[in-house]
């Protein structure tokens, strides 16, 4: 059984693609195009974070009794992602290309190493430990955007 692993890993890849897609207008200095694609990415990213924080992590914490462990680190890294997103809003407002490029790079690296930990450890553990991962998955899919 690897429902959660599969679903969430696919969603990570989707987010990667949407962000990669936003990079071309940024590289070309097309701010209107960038802003639109960046917003699309942010809404997908935030949706992902909400699914984890409101459904998956509590389910993991309840099933294992571990609240100060991996989910705490994951939540804190989510906060860091949100902080970068907030900084990007300022960079877009001031059309600061170097800053925006640096923020994208930082965010990509943060997300990649965060996802690696989730995909290699947290999701497999969820699939193994959760009493009813099919219903957890259904709950995640019903989280409103």
């Amino acid at each position: 059984m690897s429902d959660i692993q599969h679903y969430m890993t696919t969603h990570h890849r989707d987010c990667d693609e949407i962000l990669a897609d936003a990079e071309s207008p940024l590289a070309e200095g097309d701010w209107a195009g960038y802003q639109q694609k960046w917003r699309a990415f942010v809404s997908e990213l935030l949706h992902h974070l909400t699914m984890e924080e409101e459904v998956l992590f509590p389910a993991f914490e309840q099933a294992t009794g571990i609240t100060q462990g991996p989910t705490m680190v994951m939540r804190s890294e989510h906060e860091q992602m949100r902080a970068f997103v907030a900084q990007m809003e300022q960079a877009i407002a001031s059309q600061d290309q170097e800053r925006a490029m640096g923020l994208v790079e930082s965010l990509v690296l943060l997300i990649q190493q965060h996802n690696m930990k989730e995909e290699q450890m947290l999701y497999p553990m969820c699939d193994m430990r959760l009493p009813d991962n099919a219903s957890t998955l259904a709950q995640m899919q019903s989280v409103t955007r």
Partner: protein, 429 residues
Amino acid sequence: MRLSGLQFDNIPALNIPFRFYLTAPIFAILTGVLLIFWGEQIWLSRWMPITLATTHLIALGVVAMIMFGSLFQLLPVLCGTPIPINSKGAIVFISLLSFGILCLSAAFLQQLSFLPALFLLSISLLSFGVILIYTLWFNASGFYTRTPVLLAVIMLALTIILGFSFLLNYQTGYFGALPKYWTNIHAAFGTLGWVTLLIITISFQVIPMFHVTPEFPVTIKNHYPFGLFILLISLAIELLFSNSHVTFALIATLLATYAIAALKQLSLRKRKLPDTTIKFWQLSLSSLLVCSFLLVVNLFTLSSKQLPFSLDSIIGVIFVVGVVLSVIQGMLLKIVPFLITLHLQQHAMKYPMGMGLMPDHYAIISRQHGKQLYWIHLGTLVIVVMSAFIPSLTKLVGILFIINWGFLWLMISRAYNAFSRIKLDISNA
């Protein structure tokens, strides 16, 4: 899956890898100085004192120094286990190693006996090797990385043991003049075994992660590190009895197909932002392709001596400067800001108010500086290859080395200072 396997925060203190990164450029600069004064002689033969001194300054002082520093950082991430060392231990290790390398070069230049080098290097390298092999053997996990890293370290151990026996022999004269066979094996295990094996293994992990490319094909990931190791061992055995053109050609083919596969991965990256690290990787992999081609050419010209210059030396410099120093600098450009961000994030977990103060990637090393570093390095590579034909250019190579690595040293130390400053700001936020 054990819960204890979830070690999210056992990465070493930032000053541990950075001490290695800040020491290595000093050895490159020293090499540059030697090249300015005695460089022309390096093209005469690989047995010239200056050739031996500079190759070992680069191999141990620059390449091994940076790779050791990176292993402290990578093992927790790739294999889930730290190398047990604290800041003090790192300082002692780096000092012993550094003085050992200096003594070794002085001994090659006939200024010193080999005994101090032997003493210092055996304490530092052997203890590091034992700790590393122990850690990998008993504590490490990670299907794609544990065994290949272990194979690379075994190659390093064999290279070092051979090196030590040469030094003992120089000192005592016990075996008389060494047959070329043993030094060839020492060089092959060091360059193609330890260095290349480690680069290949690490590239499987960092190229998909840093550049968001698809994963490497499973056949390559599963078989290439093993294949290279087996080929090198059989090369060593065959060379004892006869020449081994087939094995050599197989090694060259393996390296060339790896280079092509990795270049293809990079071309499949979906990201669109320009990235100097990609250029460094492409330069390194193209150089590897050239080297493997020349290795095969060398097989056919070896007996007939048709060439007016030494193809061996050209392969050597393209490998060292083109393949190894390119990938090392490209990785440093990416990993230095990455590590700083990682450590600042951990710090900001304790001081959440400071999260907004996190610097962006290019605020730590600017894109402009990265690009400049690339062009200086590319220039160095071109001039170093040209100087194989025009030895008087070697002085210029020395100057470029000093500029290149002085610049890199400045960037890394400025990045570290920025880290300390921002860390303080975050605590005060």
